[in-house]
């Protein structure tokens, strides 16, 4: 039987942990609310942008009999080199949030390896970097700090660097993996092909039959500007989405930790009371037997 003092110390330690986890949960829920708001606002912009790109792509597709003759829209069913951009958190203590993303990246790695495709990893977020470093897998980019504080300029700089490499022909396909936010209690792994833009993934709404005027009228100028913007924004949005998911995952993890701690305090208190009772009983027996022997 553990002695009274030990149990008491353990109880207070667990109580302290409980305080910490509860505070972390509150912090996460406040941050989540802010990030969620940000995500909601930028979603409108993202949707409009996709819509516009979609419309122009369709118009160009109609004009060219062989489909789109543009570097951003070429066929990528048999890539030789694939870049995987993945987003994890910079910090831990958020349950399986990072592990899920890493698992998906590993699966992709295995899939592409089976098809003899060379894969280049580009990591955003310390946790993912740490994992692949530990496993001696090389990464092209290691970006820390962006996933905990997404900002448009840095996101754009990163994705443009990757897009440049695509335009130069160093890679055939760019895939993006991140753990996205669904609601307070659910996160979902999202995997998207960023380049080449796949017109089939763009939502096909009823295309207006009317002629579309484009200014400047060299089609490619506008299209290229639009694609660039589109991928920049997709990158930025993924970061925000991932951050929201991270906060919701952490909130959940900390909530679970808090209730576990509560449970443990309960158990330990019972143990403590039992031990105390036992000590008293033993003491009583000692006194009584001592008195008996003196008679």
């Amino acid at each position: 039987m553990a002695n009274l003092k030990d149990i008491k110390r353990k109880i207070s330690s667990v109580k302290n942990t409980q305080k910490t986890t509860r505070a972390m949960k509150l912090v996460s829920s406040a941050k989540l609310r802010r990030t969620e708001e940000l995500a909601k606002r930028s979603r409108v912009y993202a949707n409009k942008l996709t819509e516009l790109l979609n419309e122009i792509a369709q118009k160009l597709q109609k004009n060219n009999v062989d489909g789109l003759d543009n570097v951003f829209f070429k066929d990528a069913s048999n890539p030789k080199v694939v870049d995987i951009v993945f987003v994890t958190a910079d910090k831990g203590l958020c349950g399986g949030f990072n592990a899920q993303t890493i698992k998906r990246v590993n699966k992709l790695l295995a899939d592409y390896k089976a098809k003899n495709v060379k894969v280049r990893l580009r990591a955003v977020g310390r946790k993912g970097i740490d994992y692949f470093k530990f496993n001696n897998i090389d990464m092209m980019n290691e970006v820390v700090g962006l996933s905990s504080a997404p900002n448009y300029e840095d996101a754009a700089a990163l994705i443009n660097e990757i897009a440049d490499s695509y335009v130069k022909g160093e890679t055939d396909k760019i895939v993006m993996v991140h753990n996205g936010y669904v609601n307070m209690i659910t996160q979902e792994i999202r995997e998207a092909q960023i380049l080449p833009v796949d017109p089939s993934t763009l939502e096909l709404n009823a295309v207006s039959t009317s002629e579309l005027e484009v200014e400047p009228d060299e089609d490619d100028t506008l299209l290229e500007a639009l694609v660039k913007r589109y991928i920049e924004y997709t990158m930025y949005y993924s970061l925000i989405d991932s951050l929201a998911a991270e906060h919701s995952a952490r909130m959940q993890a900390m909530d679970a930790a808090t209730s576990n701690a509560k449970e443990m305090v309960k158990k330990l208190t019972v143990q403590y009371n039992k031990a105390r009772q036992e000590a008293i009983t033993t003491e009583l027996i000692e006194i009584i037997s001592g008195m008996e022997s003196m008679k």
Binding site: S42, Y45, L49, L52, E55, S208, L212, E215, L222, A225
Partner: protein
């Protein structure tokens, strides 16, 4: 005069969404005005000022740095990177003006375009 729907979206959310009479946009090939039932059009926008004539004929100016506009028969959608609204109803018009100028100056357009946009903003602010 017939009205059309105008929407201005920035990465920070929708900043304008209403029925308007007319809108003048700073296209990359030159400024152009849009009325209801305009032919479908997509254009690049450069640093400049969007002038909106609202349903009650009052004017609102929106300074933007760059973006795109999609016009179709029913609706005009502007997708812009950064925008500052300067409206006559605003009490703090001076501050909005300062912000607008800062936004325009940070844009990556040609110097002449920015200079003309800045002077236009100043002019408009006086009339608002």
């Amino acid at each position: 005069m017939e009205l059309m729907k105008l929407e201005i979206v920035t990465p920070n959310g929708v900043i304008f969404d209403a029925e308007v009479k007319q809108v003048t946009l700073p296209g990359s090939e030159g400024e152009f005005g849009v009325l209801a039932h305009h032919a479908t059009l997509v254009s690049l926008l450069e640093a400049g000022v969007i002038v909106i004539e609202k349903a009650d004929s009052s004017e609102v100016a929106v300074a933007i740095n760059s973006g795109y506009v999609k016009v179709d028969e029913e609706k005009t959608t502007c997708i812009v990177d950064g925008a500052v609204v300067i409206s006559g109803e605003d009490t703090d018009i001076e501050k909005a003006l300062e912000e607008a100028k800062a936004l325009l100056k940070s844009a990556e357009s040609s110097k002449t375009a920015i200079a003309s946009a800045v002077s236009k903003v100043e002019q408009l602010a006086k009339t608002l």
